[in-house]
Amino acid sequence: MSERNRELLNLFVVGMLTALGFASVYIARQSEVSTGSLSYAAFFFGLYLVAHFVARYAVPNADPYLLPMAALLTAVGVTEIYRLNPDNAFKQGLWIVIAVGVFVATLLVLRRDYRVLESYKYLFGLGALFLLVLPALPGIGTTVNGARLWVRAGPLQFQPGELAKLALIVFLAGYLREKREVIAQGRLKDLGPLLVIWGGAMLVLVETNDLGSGLLYFGVFLAMLYVATARFTYVLAGAVLFIVGSAGVYKISEHVRDRVDVWLNAFKYAHTTGYQIVQARYSIAHGGFGGTGLGHGIFTQPGSSDTLIPYLNTDFIFAALAQELGLIGAAGLVLVYMLFVARGFRIALLANDGFSKLLAVGLTSAFALQSFIIIGGIVGIIPLTGITMPFVSYGGSSVVANFVLLAGLMLISNRANTERGES
């Protein structure tokens, strides 16, 4: 079976799952939601068919599992968002349409050779920095939940950090490909531009008060540096730097201090700074092994529309899913993330040139780390930071960025598989 037929088959399965998901929400909440909910499944299936056919044309040999997994995750997300608030699901649906549009555009534009990006690496680096600084600028930036991450333009809110992440990965892949030998020799001179860009990025992150993104960027950076140079000492040095830096931030920033204190003993702060996380754990625990079932979870006081957990459909959507789908569903979700990551690294292994390998490593690590940081924060493995759960959380910028990431991996995969076929 060809790669694309396999993809189509997988998409059918995902389409059926989506239909089942919306159907169960509909059955559970008939009084609340309309039969329109059932058309959601058909609509998304149609949308992914479009993506599939573009992929058939643009990247015929790309990995056949990535798109269905992304489709599955967005479907799970939009089903849960729909269950929590149908209006939000409609907005999220629009964002997914835009995201698939961007995905299609990315595939079409870069289908001949995405490696042209390498020649613009410094442009990407500067672009990333610009995007990161944007929310910190007075006037256009807004603070949400203690972190300055947002840019507001009229009714639109946008998180430029999501795109900055991708731009930085392109820059790093290009830069590290070019300099990897000399950097591996450890001459300070060659590390210079790298450190400058990274120093800048970290400063911006401290300024914007967003530790989660800091951890994400630094982790991706270390992963790429390690793969490029094969020098484990760099990873160690980086980790030490990060810990020292974090300790510094802990001292300066009350926001970060609260987060760490809550991480160490959430229940002590159950009524204050730990409220969210403690309520999120109650939600997870209430799901138990089998979950309450879609539509049967408890998220509000009877008759109230305010959820017991703030930011339930963005940062805490995992807590909602874990309650309704139970341990089986939550673990299944994590397994999908794991499979996605495994496919990503496989693409990196199969890619033939350094830039492609590094780009695939960067994109995959970013995806993996982001999933780890948000879910790990909720289940208490690391301090909580509010970032989105890839493909699942409510939020436009995140969905668009993740579809671009998906397009990137598929482009790399297509090239690698095509070359393998030829040789």
Binding site: A270, Y282, H286, P302, A322, A331, F372, I381
Partner: protein, 497 residues
């Protein structure tokens, strides 16, 4: 680069696996602990999706707590309604969203929500959850006797105090009422109105307080029954032991007077121990206390259940132990022989504080031939299909005094009614045994008054204790008539059936 990529991939997958471990922890091991936490808003909402068990009394004939089904935002909730809310709010309590729970609704929450731990109900619970079937709780049937409970509520109305009725042979609590009372149906929506309840009868109305199990009052002369138990059971005295009463008793070189005006107290001359109880003569008991010592009296008090929670099915923090108190805490002296004034202790002063339930247990023990039965409110718990989940059987706590002592005490307490301090309480055709109590309070001329009793003396079927706050009369004229009508309420039903 491939070696590094492989290593990185392995590390990343391990990292992500940790998420599954973390989730598993919260969804399996941590579940029980989290669900019990008071601040778990979700669990408390979730409990309203359970078709909570009903609470009945009188062999499922009278409904005390039931549910009103309401559909809100697609979810079915079961809210509590108390059809006979006036009857036993201090026993049943309430289960609300805004004020959480109280009474049996709190202490028996696991039974009522079907979350009691036996394996078959747990399995059924999980299956119901998976299949989306509404979970049904277990029904509780109480031992409360409706006629007696109604009498208690009616008779206490407008007063401050409590009444407890116990079946001596079984420990079943046939009535338990506290006044001022409140309407449990109003807790959810107009709680502030309950907190504003005031009454002229007592300085602090506190309608939510269960005075029967939490109200601590000086026992006054009712404690003489405990002292007499110690005196007779230890063999130090017999009912016919004689005393000379000059109207006072000398302790530590000071006079402790009998009841009445301290300048000219009642004097009885030469009397027996039995007459001492009959006429409630302080000097007699003062001398008894000096002879047998405070330690002995406290030992017997402890055997009657003092210094321990009575352990009825109500929440633990809604039951106070009785005993000597110091700084609002039970105080058990290590060396009672010189830490406690034995004379005052013997007739119920010192720093003694007791609950009406404890004094009912004292009366009930004497009535039951000296054996204390565990008092209990619940008869049985039934699953929705009617099968018995839990049945409360009579449980003997201990033999407190010998049958002989109990017999002698019964005769002495009978004489209180036939020719002592409570002659106004005689019931034609029924041999009533009782003991009055009138305890001074901080306010001059105001007393906490008591009557404890049981009947019929030859074969007791009912034991009662009534305590009233802030009274100007004596125990026999204030608490006594209430106790009498409670005894009658029980005995009349027996003759009817």
């Amino acid at each position: 680069m491939n070696r590094q990529i492989t290593r990185l991939a392995v590390c990343t997958i391990v990292l992500l696996s940790a998420l599954i471990v973390g989730t598993t922890y919260w969804q399996t091991f941590a579940v029980a602990g989290l669900a019990d936490r008071q601040d778990n808003a979700l669990a408390s909402v979730a409990q309203f999706t359970v078709d909570r068990g009903k609470i009945y009394t009188g062999h499922r004939r009278v409904l005390l707590a039931t549910n009103v089904k309401k559909k809100v935002a697609g979810q079915t909730y079961y809210f509590r309604k108390y059809p006979n809310g006036y009857l036993a709010p201090h026993v049943v309590g309430y289960s609300t969203q805004s004020r959480s729970r109280a009474g049996l609704e709190r202490s028996q929450n696991d039974y009522l929500t079907g979350a009691n731990g036996d394996i078959s109900s747990v399995t059924k619970h999980e299956l119901d959850k998976l299949t989306g079937v509404t979970i049904k709780g277990n029904d509780i049937d109480l031992a409360l006797n409706v006629r007696a409970q109604e009498t208690a509520v009616r008779q206490l109305r407008g007063k401050c105090g409590a009444a407890v009725v116990i079946q001596p042979q079984t420990g079943r609590i046939l009535a338990l009422a506290s006044s001022p009372t409140y309407n449990p149906n109003a807790v959810e929506k107009s709680f502030s109105a309950i907190t504003r309840i005031r009454t002229a009868a007592c300085p602090f109305a506190a309608p939510l307080l269960n005075r029967a199990t939490q109200g601590l009052y000086p026992p006054g002369s009712t404690f003489k029954v405990v002292t007499a138990s110690a005196a007779l059971d230890s063999g130090a005295f017999t009912p016919s032991s004689t005393f000379y009463d000059p109207g006072y008793c000398e302790e530590y070189g000071k006079r402790v007077s009998n009841a009445g005006n301290p300048e000219s107290p009642e004097t009885f001359g030469t009397v027996t121990l039995a007459q001492g109880l009959q006429h409630s003569i302080n000097s007699v008991f003062c001398n008894v206390g000096k002879r047998i010592g405070a330690g002995k009296i406290l030992d017997y008090a402890e055997r009657f259940g003092f210094y321990k929670s009575p352990d009825v099915e109500l929440p633990a923090d809604a039951q106070s132990p009785s005993g000597l108190y110091r700084k609002h805490k039970p105080y058990k002296p290590k060396h009672p022989e010189f830490q406690v004034d034995p004379g005052r202790l013997a007739f119920g002063q010192e720093r003694l504080l007791v609950t009406p339930l404890q004094m009912a247990m004292v009366a009930s023990t004497v009535a039951n031939g000296g054996v204390l039965m565990q008092p209990h409110l619940i008869d049985d718990v039934r699953a929705p299909d009617g099968s018995i989940v839990h049945r409360v059987r009579p449980h003997k706590v201990r033999r407190v005094i010998s049958a002989t002592t109990a017999n002698q005490l019964t005769q002495m307490m009978e004489s209180v009614v036939t020719g002592g301090t409570a002659t106004n309480l005689q019931i034609p055709g029924v041999r009533l045994a009782g003991k009055t109590g009138t305890a001074e309070t901080n306010v001059n001329g105001k007393y906490d008054t008591w009557f404890i009793a049981f009947a019929p003396a030859e074969k007791p079927e009912v034991a009662v204790a009534v305590a009233l706050e802030n009274q100007t009369g004596f125990g026999a004229t204030t608490a006594g008539p209430i106790a009498k009508s409670l005894v009658e309420a029980i005995l009349r039903q027996r003759s009817n059936t």
